[in-house]
């Protein structure tokens, strides 16, 4: 159900309900450089392209025309090759439907579950424009300003991607023995915005490594690189990739968080050691604190299940029957089961999983709730994936990545 204003839009010239829109952050020229998906207002499994979330670590690059684009593949391979988009499209293609999730999605709930306090709202969208302006000016937020401010449920979307398996390209290049990873480089460039990391950690009283101006890069372990569902994609949701989503070609790394899905791909380098990419040695890492010497990179997401209906903001609700609805997904395979508890986790009931259940895409689930007594209710739900992993999987970590804890919905019945 769309929770926002539903009246008063004209769609293709006809009066219709207002459509959900992206909450955008724009640059000085008015171009969207990041955006939050209005997840609680959407239906189905595929997030429409114009409300698909957008997060960028570096500056959004100027576009490259598909005819001018080439992808260089080098490193530990038999035959260094350079592919045009036409060349790439001659290889056997594949379509994958998968959830893209920002590593920091719902990070605010880590602190709420550990320390209590004010519960972050799933529909309380942050001021993206202010963020973008600070980024333009290179301003850093103070620890006080950061507070509990982290992305809530709006940096996740479901999409359908078409491209060529990375494995196909590597096969043609010929992997040399000893290869351990593929360094994926985008043509987005810039100096990492330190404010992003300070916000992620929730404080700004420590020193950060400043790598200077870099291209966005990630080194994907070979095993994941050879997964047939890991794609070089030129299409999303039934059309060519939009520039803001990484055109002409981006990586699709199903199950792994969005930072692995390198956009604006320009170079692949097969390597026989893991390089010290900034975005997997300094940021997007698990660790106990900024000073932790044993940080390690984040990879697959945990198991997640969120309640979208009812939200806390829907209270009070009348007595009677309500259908509790939500979404569930996992970083390692299809969702096998979703359970709902109405007594704070003492007893669990199986929720209905709505078909289809796909390996990398989320599912919608629902549970009919008959309630006769007025009062406060705490609804919780948890998911289990086909590998048997039960929510939650990811412990607290100082950068607050890959949150997959169980967040209750608090509802008042009158």
């Amino acid at each position: 159900m769309a929770r926002g204003e539903i009246e008063g839009d004209w769609v293709m010239g006809w009066p219709d309900r207002k459509r959900a829109t992206l909450i955008p952050g724009k640059d000085a020229q008015g171009r969207v450089i990041n955006g939050r998906a209005p997840l609680t207002e959407l239906e189905g499994l595929i997030t429409p392209t114009d409300v698909y979330y957008v997060v960028n670590q570096l500056e959004v690059p100027e576009p490259v025309h598909p005819d001018d684009w080439t992808l260089a593949i080098g490193g530990e391979i038999e035959r260094p090759i350079e592919l045009s988009l036409k060349d790439l499209r001659k290889l056997p293609g594949r379509t994958v439907r998968a959830v893209t999730e920002c590593a920091g999605n719902d990070a605010g709930f880590f602190d709420y579950l550990m320390k209590g306090g004010r519960k972050p709202s799933r529909i309380n969208q942050q001021d993206m424009q202010k963020r973008a302006e600070m980024r333009e000016k290179g301003e850093l937020p103070s620890t006080e300003e950061i507070g509990n401010e982290s992305t809530t449920t709006c940096a996740v979307s479901g999409g359908e991607f078409t491209g060529v398996p990375l494995a196909e390209v590597l096969k043609r290049a010929g992997l040399k023995p000893g290869a351990v990873c593929v360094r994926m480089e985008g043509f987005d460039r810039g100096r990492p915005d330190l404010a992003v990391q300070y916000r992620s950690v929730g404080r700004s009283d420590f020193q950060l490594v400043d790598p200077g101006v870099i291209n966005y890069e990630k080194a994907l372990p070979l095993e994941k690189a050879l997964d047939p569902d890991t794609l070089l994609a030129w299409s999303m949701n039934g059309e060519y990739l939009l520039h803001i989503h990484g055109a002409p070609v981006r990586m699709v790394v199903p199950g792994w968080s969005g930072n692995w899905w390198v956009k604006w791909l320009q170079k692949l380098e097969v390597m026989n050691r893991m390089p010290a990419c900034y975005y997997q040695t300094h940021y997007f890492v698990y660790g106990g604190s900024p000073e932790d010497p044993h940080k390690h990179m984040i990879t697959a997401m945990g198991v997640r299940c969120i309640i979208i209906d009812p939200l806390d903001e829907d209270s009070p609700l009348p007595r009677g029957s309500h259908r509790i609805r939500g979404l569930a997904w996992s970083g390692m395979g299809a969702i096998a089961r979703v359970e709902v508890s109405l007594d704070g986790g003492k007893t669990w009931r199986e929720a209905h999983i709505e078909e289809p259940r796909e390996k990398w895409l989320w599912v919608r689930w629902s549970h009919l709730w008959e309630v006769d007594q007025p009062g406060h209710y705490r609804i919780v739900a948890r998911a289990t994936d086909e590998t048997g992993r039960v929510q939650p999987q990811t412990p607290w970590n100082y950068q607050r990545k890959h949150f997959d804890g169980i967040v209750p919905a608090d509802v008042t019945i009158v």
Partner: protein, 267 residues
């Protein structure tokens, strides 16, 4: 061959006269909300003239140069999207209030700094002040030949072959390179940027130079370096006194008009 095209950002000259306003105190034109700043149309045709040299098989590197505020980057990008290779943006608060003299000084210095330039092109005049002076000024400051009001430009060895507009006809001038050529509307419509060139434009280099980068003093440029002063700016008053000649049919209207003109001893 290296070609420099000097371009200027102006308020869209297609604006309706009824929307046009001036601030008589500040002696400036009041920007109309929603009316875009564009590349002056004659300058667009100068870019076109440079591109046609390339179309004819010449190996040309085209640099678009503009003096203005940071917003002038948009017209440089437009030139790059049309097909130019790189851009130079002259931005400095000291450039403000320049007249044609101070503008020509800054541009000719920029052309010197670019180096190895064979041909400088500019529109015959900018669509704001309609002066048509800067191109000639650059030629004089560089000591190069000038051919103004070109309708066609070819290059033949070390000479430009330019067909220029006369009051009643045209003449073909052969000018030794390096030279300055100003382009008239008779050259024909400039090409529209394609999506591909627009995307390429975003990645082409644009250098930004200040007064100091040009080896000039702030006192030599902008309002301080100007030799001409604007004393007044106004919209000429028009008192309409049109007498509409009516009639029951076109024939009757025509007859009435002929009679009125005859009475006024105009025919």
């Amino acid at each position: 061959m290296r070609v420099v095209v000097c371009v200027k950002q102006v308020p869209n000259p297609e604006i309706a006269a009824s929307q046009f306003r001036v601030d008589e105190q500040a002696k400036t034109v009041v920007p109309v909300p929603g009316v875009a700043l564009v590349m002056s149309p004659f300058d667009e045709q100068a870019v076109e003239a440079a591109l046609r040299l390339r179309d004819r098989g010449h190996d040309v590197t085209i640099t678009v140069v503009s003096m203005g505020t940071e917003s002038a980057r948009a017209v440089i990008k437009h030139g790059l999207a049309m097909g130019a290779d790189d851009g130079v943006l002259l931005v400095d608060p000291a450039f403000e209030g320049a007249d044609s003299y101070a503008t020509a000084l800054a541009l000719s210095r920029a052309i010197g700094k670019i180096g190895g330039v064979d041909l400088v092109l500019a529109g015959r005049q900018a669509a704001d002040w309609d002066a048509g002076v800067v191109g000639a000024g650059i030629a004089e400051m560089l000591g190069w030949p000038l051919v103004s009001f070109a309708r066609e430009l070819r290059v033949d060895g070390r000479a430009a072959r330019v067909e220029r507009m006369l009051d009643e006809g045209t003449e073909i001038i052969a000018a030794e390179l390096p030279a300055v050529v100003t382009v008239s509307n008779e050259l024909g419509a400039p090409r529209a940027p394609t999506l591909r060139e627009t995307m390429r434009a975003g990645r082409k280099p644009v250098a930004v130079w200040s007064v100091a980068d040009l080896g000039l003093e702030t006192g030599e440029v902008g309002a301080q370096g100007a030799r001409c002063m604007r004393e007044r700016l106004f919209i000429p008053e028009k008192r309409s006194r049109c007498e509409f000649v009516e009639g029951g049919s076109p024939r009757e209207q025509a007859a009435n008009l002929a009679r009125r003109l005859r009475e006024a001893k105009l025919v």
